[in-house]
Symmetry: C2
Subunit: 886 residues, 2 copies
């Protein structure tokens, strides 16, 4: 039905390229596929590509929708087009004299690795190969022939790949060589014979007629579009936009025809440093695979200028043209056949962080790209590399790697092994460097984690406690190192057959997960001058503000250095963990039976909170500081371990009976703590806690004001689900403000807002907006509740979900725009409709994820907040979002 | 601003009633308040009410919005209206000769108990009381005077109530009587003197001028509208529709003026049985309080016909008129003052279940109401009463009550105490009756709970496991009996100072929570013939289908008897608990390391499932049966207790090492099981489980078909959050169907649907609807996730939330229409837009809650499903929803 217009013959179904011109261009991606569009574009630029043509995706669709029959007259058209190729190459398809060989490759609009069928060297048979041998060599001709036999056999006829490999092995053994490059022309003839036997054992044969070979190969590529594997791949990856694969038929060219031929790869600029010079290597008398295989050592590209000056000049001109045209540093593959240069492929080149920034800045200065484009050329991981210390030489340590875990937080760390927080803090106090090694970590370990250079755990995944906390601080962390056996009693661990003890030196690579025995040299973060220039452009282009999450004055200072213009999340309870005295006061509060006892315990906490807040206000002078009231369930503040010991400890600490403690602990224990007595539920039941925290904030802000610092506290009520939860807590905060302001005879501006992390809050956002000054989205909890996933427990099924494509991404790393994102958008729309002055922020981990930031930008969020170390990456992502939205 | 129109004088602000006419009517509820509108209506009907007038709610609003100043000329208008009352009563306000006394009462449009101010006997002073005494008696006159002093003092002047009560106590002591009725006129004079002293001690006095008394009382009622208490009440109860209280000023009438006076209460029909005859009692020479106080024994109303035939005739005529007019059985208060009948109040009378049904049926037959109205006159709890066994005589056992818990599931149960499931099952097997007594219950106890007549627990609330399961079965249950001490080791419990042991008889009242020592006689459910007639009308009027939740063939049969037309939820895993053999097979499946081992274990479960399904299909011949695939986390199937013992037990059961078991159990243990590895997540990771269950269903359905029964399985995928979860599970089910149909050479109709209980499923409902035949809302889980509440843990804060009005209702009992309801509506709208054929059901507990059912009806749900015992109540609620929607 939908392809009738094709059968009418009006639509062009075959697009030529080669000889400096093409029917298509890179704008015809949907029709020509990725590969076809790119070949056309190069051709149009006058770059010499092996000539050929592309059958459009519509042709494939027609083939499939007509019950897999070849569209009428298609082969006639194909064969007519081959005449073109013959003319350009000075070769003839199917003749023994100067035979033309063809490559047939699939090429869909969206890349589908693993389902792309390719057949090379089409056009050979017993006659043609003999002719080819006489004009080149037996070695070359029969090597090409055996490749055709194996590839055609596997791909088109469905023979087992193993059978061909087994024969290759056998011949190598018989001849006594290790490597194919040492096989002679005679050996290749033997292999061709053996391969033909495999064909006849399976009752098939290679079609003698090259035209039949070609048609069968094209048909096979069409078929591959809707085989089970491809359909499944598209289902999993939700690829619905395209309706078939394009097919590229292209002349074969050879770099292994002697010393006037060769092959190579190069970059238009140095991909390590970004310097503007040709960077790459080549081999004479070689094929593409040989450069990669590493059997022969390639020569630096500069040498080509001496060997073949004309070719080099042409190559340089082509590369410059491609870089200018595509507006980016290019990665190019080329082949020289008998002094004639062919470019096989070009694409934007991969580069280091340092190179990415330098190239972007220099290409802008050269007028080769706009600032908008420059911003799109630097990726988040480029900045990540630049902002963490790295090992000076990663290759140097390979023999000292004793194990590998999951690379949970990037960078490199070197230090002495410790097993407890106390040890870590002691080493830190002495000016040393510690690596904390644990089975896994819990909130009690945060003091020690903070005092360490890096963290290594046996258990846990990319979203485990250790991983999340370490990423928050930009601290190197390797988790889930399963082979490691940790013995906390003897303070040792074994890994890679070696036993390590407290005080031994190890090094961690947070980019790769490597655990290295000994002290590996580090190089400091590379903060080249170009980075400053580049980040200036980033800030100029972005609309979204970037705030940071910070729990201490030190975090806040770090955030500000990284360009944060406010604090989006202060987790007040983290202040409670930071000393044993504080934890004792918190436990006293938990054990309180009456409001009076609780208030007494809170009195003790007030000075700590006030001092910490004042430090943060000082560091963030002039900025908004968003503070979340107490959030976690109270049982999180209790020590872990044997219940009896814990009870006895708390009982003696607060002079109450062990039974009373046990009773209290039993009442606090929860089946689903995530959905329990936490967040503003604590503040509603114990408003004196919220009042103490608000007092700490306002007293600190007034004290800061007296010292000349401007602070704008944004006080945030966590886990709001009912409008009255917010209203009662907002009243406690505002009443406390009035009281403190009256006592001190001074006042400051402040805001009261809701942390939106319960689906219900999104639905009633209009009601909350009546009394809220701002909303902050706690996307971690919101994702948990919207999916009904517990981050602590999803390890059982998440790997299966990702492998089967039930989920495309871990929704805790990249925001689920379809579900969670819709709730966020609904919140923004409903709240703005009621109160246009309300502002919106994001304080979950998604605030530092580029693709999530793009979404937040698109729905009109005002700021994102992330860990201090991710602030530059978030700034970049915000700028890209703004540029891409144009 | 908004009251300008009032000041213009155009709007009537005072409405008269009395003498068989009135300015207002019952349709002026908003303006006249509840009491005022009703007095007007009675008056209009020619019923003799003490004359008076109502100041509208707008007057109160004007007073308050003008800074609490009396609207211009209001008192002039009031005093002019008093002339009317004087004329009708033949009395004069403020004179000693035949003085008129007035009552001033507030009366808002929405009832606000506890904030209603009332002042009676206004118009007395030292002169007036003397005059009143001379025309009546000292006793009567000074009793009235001391009442005015106390009430005016408390309500208007804010004196302490305790001071007046203390003086009453003192006088009673001095005179040596226990009861006020024994105080003489002289005693009353003493009291009046003492009360005046309280006034002067507080520096206030009762205004001499009755007009001033009246104005102050009216002002006070106006003031009460926005005192702190009232504002808080309206906030908590979300009353925003009204802007003030009405004030009723009405003549006082007295039934205690001798033997030609009297007072009484009556019902127009018998409220216990529903029989159509006057039912009530009266006292001569008495005031209203005396009838209720029980000091004198009232006479049956029939006696009045002999005592005062004319008055009786008039009363009868009035009651008949009121019943006909209001179209319902009436509860009437009356006073006879000197042979003159006054009706003080009429309202629809409270009645038993039996009476409710009989009255509805008979009044329809009499032509006094339509079927639609008849349906609104019977409440859910009326049916509940009719459908459970009750104690024959609740008053008889009062001295044997040993304790009281929460009435978690209604009805009455009598049995022998057991402490374990095994004991319960043994007694049941012997034909006996057991009451299971536990600290609390867990899924392991369900066998024993099912085998018991009733369940009693020490801990847990209305939504605890025991409560939910028991309500599901309509089994009597009392939970949270905190004074009870259960000792599982010695198999005893103590309660009410007595120790009970295994085998002792107790009785439970599930309506009141009473725990009764011994064997109390029961009466069977009252299933009068009227009930059948009435339920026929219910089914005729409703649009919603009512299905039942049923896990066994017995449950299904019970559901059908109660009128269910389908099964909305079969929890397949409940079949796994029902024997030790089955649990062993389930544990084998859990311990499996490979798909093969798992399939082997599943083979063992298949015959059980098939047999159970066939039983259900048989019971539900011709109906839809909705079956939920395995839902709970696997660790729920493991025995509880000491970890070492459990491991050893499982290890020996399945011949594996204890370490391997421990490792498996550790991997299964979860921090937040509610959000963990459960629902379709199990089926996605282990599709062989879903395939086994689907096979069981299809084989059972084909076997049932062979026996002549028609079954339509609706297979439901639980906990869907991602569209691909549903798609992969639906494919497993449909593929299994095709396989089984091919094997058996026969087929049946079936449907595949999604259980919507994750917020994300609501957002992507349009996607799911593409491949789903139906949606069922699991409102329990959906409420948990939308609020972020865990039912197991919310006991810590829910009581505070309800007390503070943060929540109006427990959202697990009554659907939260604002949050959860909006998600459900969104789901229906999005799914229908994509697939108009998709059907919608509700299978959470809300499916049996009348107010939730009304909401489900309004958004176009197709059926609700509830426990078998609630089916009649749900049918009634569905009919009411349909009638009210007209
Ligand atoms: Mg949170
Ligand atoms: Mg559920």
């Amino acid at each position: 039905g939908q392809n009738l217009r094709l059968r009418g013959g009006a639509e062009q179904r075959l697009y030529h390229f080669g000889s400096g011109k093409a029917d298509g261009s890179r704008h015809m991606l949907v029709s020509l596929g990725n590969k076809g569009a790119n070949l056309a574009e190069m051709s149009n630029l006058g770059v010499n590509v092996p000539p050929g043509f592309t059958l459009t995706t519509s042709v494939c669709d027609e083939y499939n929708s007509q019950g897999k029959t070849m569209p009428a007259n298609l082969m006639t058209e194909v064969l007519a087009s081959i005449k073109n190729i013959e003319t350009q190459m000075g070769q003839t398809f199917g003749t023994a004299d100067k035979p033309l060989l063809l490559a047939v490759r699939s090429g869909a609009a969206v890349s589908m690795p693993g389902m792309m069928d390719t057949v090379l060297n089409i056009g050979l048979n017993d006659q043609v190969v003999a002719g080819l041998a006489s004009s080149t060599s037996d070695r070359f001709a029969y090597d090409s022939y055996r490749r055709l036999l194996a590839m055609f056999g596997e791909v088109v006829l469905g023979l087992e790949a193993g059978a061909f490999e087994a024969q290759m092995d056998l011949v190598r053994e018989e001849v006594g060589v290790d490597d194919d490059s040492m096989l002679t022309g005679e050996d290749m003839k033997v292999i061709v014979g053996r391969f033909k036997e495999i064909y006849s054992q399976n009752g098939v044969s290679l079609p003698e007629d090259p035209k039949v070979q070609l048609e069968m190969a094209i048909t096979k590529v069409f078929d591959s579009w809707d085989n089970a594997r491809s359909v499944e791949y598209r289902n999993i990856h939700d690829i619905t936009s395209t309706t078939g694969t394009a097919v590229n038929v292209q002349a074969m060219v050879f770099g292994n025809l002697g010393s006037t031929s060769g092959t190579g790869v190069l970059f238009s600029r140095n991909p390590s440093t970004g310097e503007n010079h040709l960077y790459g290597e080549f081999l004479l008398d070689a094929q593409g695979e040989d450069v990669v295989a590493g059997v022969r050592t390639p020569s630096p590209i500069a040498l080509l200028e001496k060997t073949m000056p004309e070719v080099y000049k042409e190559l340089l001109a082509n590369v410059e043209k491609l870089e200018a045209h595509f507006g980016d540093m290019q990665d190019v593959e080329f082949t020289i056949q008998d002094q004639k240069l062919f470019l096989l492929q070009c694409r934007s080149g991969k580069r280091t962080g340092q190179a990415a920034v330098r190239i972007a800045v220099e290409m802008f200065k050269e007028g080769a790209m706009t600032k908008d484009v420059a911003i799109t050329k630097v990726q988040g991981q480029h900045l990540d590399q630049l902002l963490h210390p790295q090992f000076a030489n990663e290759e140097a340590y390979s023999e000292r790697v004793v194990g590998r875990g999951l690379p949970a937080s990037p960078g490199a760390a070197v230090g002495q092994i410790v097993f407890t927080s106390a040890e870590a803090q002691m080493i830190r106090a002495q000016g040393g460097a510690a690596i904390l090694v644990r089975g896994d970590t819990s909130p009690e370990d945060v003091g020690g984690m903070h005092a360490s250079e890096g963290i290594l755990t046996q258990r846990g995944g990319m979203t485990s406690h250790a991983a999340v906390v370490a990423r928050g601080w930009g601290k190197t962390c390797v988790v889930g190192c399963m082979e490691m056996q940790v013995d906390d009693v003897s303070k040792t661990f074994t890994l890679g057959g070696k036993t390590f003890k407290s005080g031994d030196w190890i090094s961690l690579n947070g980019n790769s997960g490597d655990v290295i025995d000994g002290k590996e040299p580090l190089s400091p973060p590379i903060l080249a001058g170009d980075l400053g220039t580049f980040m200036g452009w980033v800030d100029e282009k972005r609309r979204l503000q970037v705030y940071a999450n910070a729990d201490t004055p030190e975090d806040a200072a770090e955030a500000r250095r990284n360009g944060a213009t406010g604090i989006g999340l202060v987790r007040t309870e983290h202040m409670f963990y930071s000393s044993e005295e504080r934890l004792t006061a918190v436990r006293k509060m938990i054990m309180a039976d009456t409001c009076e006892q609780r208030s007494e315990a809170l009195e003790k906490l007030l000075p700590y909170q006030r001092a910490d807040f004042e430090g943060i206000f000082r560091a963030m002078d002039g900025c908004h500081v968003t503070i979340r009231l107490l959030d976690p369930p109270l049982h999180e503040f209790l020590p872990s371990g044997n219940m009896e010991d814990v009870c006895a400890m708390i009982a003696s600490e607060h002079s109450i009976s062990s039974e009373a403690v046990l009773d209290k602990l039993n009442r606090l224990s929860e089946v689903n703590p995530m959905l329990g007595f936490r967040g503003c539920r604590l503040g509603v039941v114990f408003p004196e806690i919220s009042a103490m925290q608000a007092r700490g904030i306002f007293e600190a802000a007034l004290s800061a004001k007296a010292k000349g610092w401007v602070s704008v506290p944004n006080i945030m009520v966590p886990l709001v689900g009912c409008v009255k939860e917010f209203e009662t807590q907002a009243k406690v905060i505002r009443d406390t403000a009035a009281k403190v302001f009256a006592e001190k005879g001074d006042s400051i501006d402040f805001k009261v807002g809701a942390l939106v992390e319960i689906p219900r809050a999104c639905l009633i956002a209009g009601q909350i907006a009546k009394t809220a000054d701002f909303f902050s989205f706690g996307t971690n909890d919101l994702t948990q509740m919207t999916f009904g996933f517990s981050r602590d427990d999803m390890g059982t099924f998440l790997p299966t979900y990702l492998a089967q494509g039930i989920l495309q991404k871990d929704p805790f790393q990249q925001l689920d725009t379809e579900g969670v994102g819709e709730l966020i958008k609904m919140t923004v729309d409903r709240a703005r409709a009621v109160n246009p002055d309300v502002t919106f922020g994001v304080s979950g981990e998604h605030g530092g994820d580029p693709s999530s930031i793009k979404f937040f930008d698109s729905i009109g969020i005002d700021y994102v907040s992330c860990s201090a170390f991710r602030v530059p990456i978030a700034r970049l992502a915000a700028a890209k979002a703004a540029v891409e939205a144009k």
